[in-house]
């Protein structure tokens, strides 16, 4: 027996479905339309001709290289750090916990100022480094340092929660069977948390790639040395609109590529388990 959708029972259900559909469409459009607008503002010819611009290529190369290095350092240093942090209690653990989250809430420009005031030529530590001829501010190293500072919380928090949720029984069993702590870490802990760590790494890479405020403050803006893609977009939008637009589209495409790669990796992980 079919009932009209205007009947009391079905009316409520209809309204709920409308509301739900509206909500989903609204959120999707809010996220998708700005990205789509980028593509509509340019033409394929303009886009491909801008790609050959030297500034665009150097920004792309610099961004990718620095983000990969930043990610590498965060993973190499952050994973053991998160593991030790989780498996042990030590005095000051609460403070370290808070500090890990700090760059998330700190405005990036403030982070940049802080790095400059510390590592700059007349900075707290920088002045001593300067004696040995080590300069950090306005170099590519500064770009990497800024990226690590702002992006590391994404990976560290993820790693922390993964290691905390991991049932210690697995590791303890391995211990009773005679495996060393290092071997346990490599053969048991990491494989079990791998897919989560990968998603944390992806967020870190994305954040590092998009870093602007700390970079422009601490590393400055020099094409080929410190002008990453976000800086090039900012400068480009004010001078050469098409270049700015092209780099924006490049960033969107890279982001999509990363997300698709991660989805692919994650789905393979599930099948394996």
């Amino acid at each position: 027996m079919t009932r009209s959708f205007l009947e009391p029972n079905n009316l409520l259900r209809t309204l709920t479905v409308i509301g739900a559909a509206g909500l989903i469409i609204l959120v999707t459009l809010y996220l998708a339309l700005p990205v789509a607008a980028l593509f509509f503002r340019t033409t394929p010819e303009l886009f491909f001709s801008s790609l050959s611009d030297a500034d665009v290529q150097s920004a792309l190369r610099l961004s990718l290289i620095t983000s990969v290095i930043s990610l590498g350092i965060v993973i190499l240093v952050g994973t053991p750090f998160a593991y030790i942090h989780c498996r042990n209690t030590y005095p000051g653990k609460m403070i370290v916990d808070t500090l890990i989250d700090l760059p998330l809430v700190l405005p990036p420009a403030v982070a940049g100022v802080a790095l400059l005031v510390l590592y700059g030529r007349v900075g707290l530590i920088g002045r001593y480094l300067n004696i040995f001829g080590i300069t950090l501010a306005f170099t590519t190293v500064a770009v990497i340092m800024a990226q690590i500072f702002v992006a590391s919380p994404f990976y560290l928090r993820q790693a922390k929660s993964l290691f905390e949720q991991l049932d210690p029984a697995y590791e303890q069993t391995a211990r009773t069977l005679g495996a060393s702590a290092f071997r346990i870490f490599i053969t048991i802990t990491i494989p079990l948390t791998a897919s989560g760590l990968v998603s944390g790494a992806v967020m870190t890479f994305g954040r590092a790639l998009g870093e602007f405020g700390a970079t422009i403050m601490f590393a400055g803006n020099l094409p080929g040395v410190t002008q990453t893609m976000p800086l090039a977009v900012y400068v480009g939008m004010e001078g050469n609109f098409n270049i700015g637009l092209t780099i924006s589209i490049l960033l969107v495409l890279i982001s999509f590529a990363i997300m698709i790669a991660v989805r692919f990796l994650a789905s393979r992980e599930v099948q394996h388990a």
């Binding site: 959708f5 079905n10 259900r13 559909a21 405005p107 422009i216 400055g220 020099l222 400068v235």
Partner: protein
């Protein structure tokens, strides 16, 4: 059961789309439309859509904590000002940061009940904001060529565009002179760190011109090349360079004379550039076509061009229009 369910979902989706369309239509009509009077002719200029106003890209905020000097750099995000009779929105070249406070107070005193709010940023950033729909009553530009572009695109009331003041370029050094720079020739020494504005910034164009002139007249092209290879950062506004110098992070920076003159004593040392090689930047002021306070805007322009406004500018190191 199946059939009525399919009808539900179809109708729900249609209703949802209608609601959202109404929402977006409502949004766009309530924005102040800032379509130019003449459509931009150049193909490289952004195409103005007919039905939607593109909201300008928010400029990221670069905030520097106040140092002991008076040079504080703030690049404001694009504000969505509602025009009102009492408050004037003045888009101003960043190099007027130090003087804008005094100008605002004096304007309110001369015209009680009226206030001027300054949006300070690199002229190139302000131009982009205006071209993407930002609202401004008055525009003070540091570059004749940007002014002419905006005039051509129909953003100014062209008859109101007048020269406001002028400024020369100067080289400033941190007070302690860590790079031990005594003359302009020293700028080419290896290892010297120089901060400069990006070439899209009016002060940057001026600096490029000055360096070209100096290379032609006094020093040679090798000097010019060495200076550029010593540049460690191309800032996006003139106060940005001043900040890097005042922090002592670079050995020298190219800024406007007014920045040096108006700074507290012992903030910077300076090396002047011979007038013959220097570039005289002319600032222009004009009332915007889109203004809804044309009376007050004209009053502000008159105030800036009057002896009071010009004297304030002079006190802060700006030069009169020749």
């Amino acid at each position: 059961m199946d059939k009525s369910y399919r009808i539900f979902t179809t109708i729900s989706i249609v209703c949802a789309l209608l609601i959202i369309a109404a929402f977006f239509a409502g949004c766009t009509t309530s924005q102040p439309t800032t379509k130019p009077v003449t459509t931009p002719p150049a193909t490289t200029a952004p195409v103005q859509s007919m039905t939607t106003t593109v909201v300008s890209t928010p400029a990221p905020t670069t905030v520097v904590p106040p140092t002991t000097t008076a040079v504080v750099v703030t690049s404001t995000p694009v504000p969505n000002y509602t025009p009102s009779e009492k408050t004037l929105i003045v888009y101003t070249a960043a190099s007027l940061k130090g003087v804008s406070g005094k100008l605002g107070t004096e304007f309110s005193q001369a015209y009680p009940g009226h206030t001027a709010v300054f949006n300070l940023d690199g002229t190139q950033a302000l131009k982009t904001q205006v071209e993407n729909g930002a609202y401004a009553d008055v525009f003070i530009s540091a570059s004749n060529s940007y002014t002419n572009t905006l005039k051509g695109e129909g953003y100014f009331m062209n008859s109101t565009v007048k020269p406001l003041t002028t400024n020369y370029v100067i080289v400033i050094l941190p007070a302690t002179n860590p790079g031990n720079i005594k003359t302009l020739a020293d700028l080419a020494k290896p290892g010297v760190k120089i901060a400069m504005e990006d070439k899209t910034v009016p002060a940057g164009t001026a600096t490029y011109a000055v360096l070209a002139n100096l290379a032609k007249s006094t020093y040679n092209q090798d000097w010019n090349k060495s200076v550029f290879s010593n540049v460690v950062t191309y800032e996006t506004s003139e106060p940005g360079v001043a900040t890097k110098v005042s922090l002592g992070e670079v050995d020298a920076g190219f800024v406007y004379e007014s920045t040096y003159t108006a700074a507290p004593k012992d903030t910077y040392s300076a090396i002047t550039i011979p007038k013959a090689d220097n570039y005289l930047q002319t600032y222009t002021i004009g009332v915007m076509q889109q203004t809804q306070n044309s009376g007050t805007a004209q009053e502000f322009e008159d105030f800036m061009l009057s002896s009071i406004g010009q004297q304030i500018l002079k006190d802060y190191g700006f030069r009169p229009v020749s």
